[in-house]
Subunit: 189 residues, 4 copies
Amino acid sequence: MKPKDEKKLQAIFNATLSLTGQEGIVGLTMSKIAKTAKIGIGTLYVYFESKEELVNELYRQLKTGGTLSMIDDLKALPVKPQLLEVWKRTLQYRVENHAQMVFMEQFLNSPFISEESRGLSYQFTAYLTDLLETGQQQMIIKQADEAILMNLLSGYSRQLAAHLVDTKTPLTEKVINESFSLCWDAIKS
Amino acid sequence: MKPKDEKKLQAIFNATLSLTGQEGIVGLTMSKIAKTAKIGIGTLYVYFESKEELVNELYRQLKTGGTLSMIDDLKALPVKPQLLEVWKRTLQYRVENHAQMVFMEQFLNSPFISEESRGLSYQFTAYLTDLLETGQQQMIIKQADEAILMNLLSGYSRQLAAHLVDTKTPLTEKVINESFSLCWDAIKS
Amino acid sequence: MKPKDEKKLQAIFNATLSLTGQEGIVGLTMSKIAKTAKIGIGTLYVYFESKEELVNELYRQLKTGGTLSMIDDLKALPVKPQLLEVWKRTLQYRVENHAQMVFMEQFLNSPFISEESRGLSYQFTAYLTDLLETGQQQMIIKQADEAILMNLLSGYSRQLAAHLVDTKTPLTEKVINESFSLCWDAIKS
Amino acid sequence: MKPKDEKKLQAIFNATLSLTGQEGIVGLTMSKIAKTAKIGIGTLYVYFESKEELVNELYRQLKTGGTLSMIDDLKALPVKPQLLEVWKRTLQYRVENHAQMVFMEQFLNSPFISEESRGLSYQFTAYLTDLLETGQQQMIIKQADEAILMNLLSGYSRQLAAHLVDTKTPLTEKVINESFSLCWDAIKS
DNA sequence: AATGAATGAGGATTCATTCAT
DNA sequence: AATGAATGAATCCTCATTCAT
């Protein structure tokens, strides 16, 4: 990759996200991306060697620039408030960046994904697992297998965000608190 | 659909599921399906008018023959045992039929899905919503918005099953009970 | 060819003519012929070894059963009345059997035509040439090259019949007489 | 149509005409056209969206660039000399451009023809009808129905040209004059 | 660096023909 | 004799990628 123009790069990524939202990753073609990004097809190949590279690069950017980046300032908080804040931010991010979520999900099941990209999937999980472990050590979270706990949080968050977007329900404080309350009741010891 | 040979029809569906599991719905081609099902490409078009029809028909069959069919005998049970049994069966079904789950998920985000197929998505949800409502009337389930409750169950179940398959963890009674215990703590009033 | 059932054979020919009239010889398929003739595709191959044979056979039948058969009783007439009668019958035949005309024309330009079929094209022409020659010997027809005369008659007849069918104009005595009058003025010496 | 390279466009049209001449419009395939025009199949689709568009576009070009364009300078001539000149030019054009004539005829009976293309068919006819009407007003042409007159001219011209090409007879002045003489005798009052 | 015309491998679909019933 | 399911070669068309400008 030899990014020359940051604006063009963003236009390409935005076009890719927008098109995936509309027709799914199945209908994604290089010429549509170029047209939507208002550049020539040839130019696309100046920025990315192939469709596969484009799509993996976008995935990497979303992973590192997305949920992962939003937790750095929270690590000092106690477990429950930290979890609430993570819950809130994650829901917010997922609702506000639905196109990104759709892209990532479809990408994970596509033949385009590289081994390297697949590795990225688990970094946020790792953070959450750590947090839950801390809670268990403090005796405030159930002593169940971490995967059992983790999957509730991540699966619920994913599904709820999708539901809110699908039904165009706004993400109010009430929804955040009610849903987090369920989570907490589920995992607290 | 003009099913002439039930065995061939099943071979086609199995081939489609198997291929989707390997390369995702993006990599699904008619010739691969035919080759995997050990029939001629032309034969595929004797059974289905197009790729779209094939894939929608398979989805319909999975929806009506899958989770939906497993709940008829439970409706007499009290809410909590009924929910536990549904939880158990759903997890079991999802773990044992992972290819089907992957197919359905990818299909929902593909450009192949017809309006009619999209309508099928919500029947199991409707059953669960009913059950939760009954629980609320009996004052044993939280008075939260049903979507808030529903999404926890469905999102968790989906994620947990995927995790078990991914990590090749067997679905033991312990896992079923522990995970259901989380669910129940989350939604009980 | 092993014609077993004359009715079925005619049903096949009628279906072929009807379909050619609707979509041209380009859109002619064996399965459409079978469906229109209300027989199984397999049965078609009991009557004809191939599409090519079917279509050549039909052509032969039209040629020998059509214009060629209508002139036997006229050969005794004097030139002008004979020509008028041929003109009349030919126009009538062409207007009433337009589907046949379309089929023959398209067939002549298709890759299906066999050498043998191509030979059939010229029998009617030969009769007309003879008749014109007789007229020339009797000094009532111009001493021009026969092809020059012939092509006027055949080209005009073809075009006029097509025009009448196209504009749904009925073939009245007036039209027959006026058009023949033109022909006669053209070729008389 | 987005003509990028005029030479390539002409190569495509020439290939199409040549192939139609050989095997008829039935045997016309996109890959044969590409191969004959010495371009890639994909390139064909840069110039034309579909086989149908290609073939309709060619028809339009032949119609507007062919017989229609050859009559502008004649409109000042008196009726008979004008008709003779049109007769001559039309014959010449048809003999010299036989592939075009075959293509247009087959195209008219193909399922490819669009409504728009069908409309083009009648412009030359309209010119001739006008000319004949003028002749009728000047009392030098028979007062017969114009269609009766028209079809003789057009049908004869078509047939004669086809005959000349078929028998490889050169189009001499003698042929032109003799045939026109027949026409004139037919229609003069 | 930017472009888009050119390319052909690959995908969906059709259709003449075969063959077991 | 009659049938139509089964077949795959051949067709139309798409799309990732290249390359000359």
